[in-house]
Amino acid sequence: MTKEMNLEERFQAYVDGENKVEPKDWMPEKYRKTLVRQISQHAHSEVVGMLPEANWITRAPSLRRKVALLAKVQDEAGHGLYLYSAAETLGADRMDLVEDLLSGKAKYSSIFNYPTPTWADIGAIGWLVDGAAIANQVMLCRTSYGPYSRAMVRICKEESFHQRQGYEILMSLAKGTPAQKKMAQEALNRWWWPSLMMFGPTDDNSPNSAQSMKWKIKRKSNDELRQEFIDKTVPQAEYLGLTVPDKNLKWNEERGHYDFGTIDWEEFYQVISGNGKCNKQRMKARQDAHNAGAWVREAANAYAEKQAARKAEEGSAA
């Protein structure tokens, strides 16, 4: 018991000294579990997050936009891979993690349960959803777990590019025809509040945050990140000539921040618990892809085994 206590104290001191924890280092079991949960949720979010955007690949309104969107969704798949690898450095198995997603045991970011009915939603996702993700991920570049932090550095670079791309889509719409401008405004109306919810519950309702902050997995609170995002995004909306759908939004000179209205947490919890417009659709798409791919994965494994056996045979014959 005392020995364990000592290890934990030493671990805390190590983290407090801004050192990175590496896969072979000793770490508290709860630190490991927290990270596996967080990193795999993040990986699942990348993979499920491909779906609302992939919804527009075949319908993108210009060839340039089509290529950019396809490349973007492919990047998300790549992020999923880095993150599953980071989770595997903690002893998790990728296939088990995927099973947890498909069975509904593991969560993914609730934002992807919102639909993308128009092309402007692709712009709004890039600008707002990727923007909110970046706020979180820039912080995670300094997270205490080495492989996670390094994966985040790579991911952040690509995400910033995606965000600019999304903003540029909305820019074209906002200065386009009246119908395009309307499309852009409606997309902002749809995505503004869900984007704010991406930072999670308010600090007084976020019980796990304190330990994560102490271990320096998390470096800023949900409310701090949310405020930063709002402060950065509101001027961008103004530049587009679009109206943020919050009548209580107002610059507060004294605080040096925007004040904003109350988030509808009831909606947040409803979507998390499965009642978003697309929860079932997203899960079914993942399950279908997984099930339809089963024979392909089996074939690839069987072929790899045959090849290995043939090589071994050649080796022993020689």
Partner: protein
């Protein structure tokens, strides 16, 4: 001659665009992330080639034409892709079989196009050939993997080859446009491509422990604008937004 070069350019561009569009449907739905990424890579290459060819076609067409006008404002009978690329993706085995049959053709075609007398097509071929070489390798490897994988994968991919076979002949049929382009030193001798294709396809099919289907009736018409029912739906989906807002820029 001018019209024939335009149609020749569009045949190449439409093959790339429609196949890229079809492969794009897979994005997010592949059997495993790594292969989702691999197939998306091929789709991206196809669409990149399509853009170069559409830009060239638009320039030939002249004033007011752009790559997007070429892609989004032509109807079914104005498309000149071969029929095989517009067929539905089917399962992974069907997509692989189509990709293998097409990539192998494309590899020999673009290799020959490297000596085209048309500088622009030659440039495009130089850019595309590296990508296409990789595609042909990738899809041949997958055909072998599925053919020599499990009983189920063998059965599925054999069925796909059998079903797709009647759509392969069109790639090698030489009509007036092909003949004129060949004569001008711009185009490719499809009879020669057919020999190279036959040899390569037979070799890979054998390595995959599969059976090469017998040549029978071959479908044709796509290159001339006579399409299957599938293309209309592909275009409806692809074109609806720019057509709804013809004045808009995106």
């Amino acid at each position: 001659m001018k019209d024939q070069l335009l149609q020749y350019t569009l045949r190449l561009g439409d093959n790339a665009l429609i196949l890229g569009q079809r492969l794009g449907e897979w994005c997010g739905h592949g059997p495993i992330l790594e292969q989702d990424i691999a197939l998306t890579n091929i789709a991206l290459d196809q669409l990149g080639q399509a853009r170069l060819l559409m830009q060239y076609a638009a320039e030939q067409k002249g004033e007011g034409y752009t790559e997007d006008k070429m892609a989004f404002f032509r109807d079914v009978t104005e498309y000149h892709n071969c029929l095989m690329v517009e067929l539905k993706n089917g399962d992974w085995g069907r997509t692989i079989a189509r990709q293998f049959l097409f990539d192998t053709y494309n590899y020999f075609f673009y290799t020959a196009l490297l000596s085209s007398a048309d500088e622009r097509l030659k440039d495009i071929a130089q850019k595309a050939i590296k990508e296409i070489t990789y595609h042909a390798q990738w899809s041949a490897e997958w055909l072998i993997r599925l053919g020599d994988g499990t009983e189920e994968s063998h059965r599925r991919v054999q069925e796909s080859l059998n079903d797709l076979w009647e759509w392969t002949g069109e790639m090698f049929m030489m009509d007036e446009v092909d003949k004129a382009m060949l004569e001008a030193g711009i185009g490719v001798d499809l009879n020669r491509i057919k020999e190279q294709w036959d040899q390569k396809v037979s070799q890979i099919i054998e390595m995959a422990t599969l059976t090469k289907p017998e040549d029978g009736w071959m479908q044709s018409g796509g290159k001339q604008g006579e399409h299957s029912e599938y293309l209309g739906y592909v275009l409806a989906e692809m074109q609806h937004l720019p057509r709804m807002h013809p004045e808009a820029e995106w």
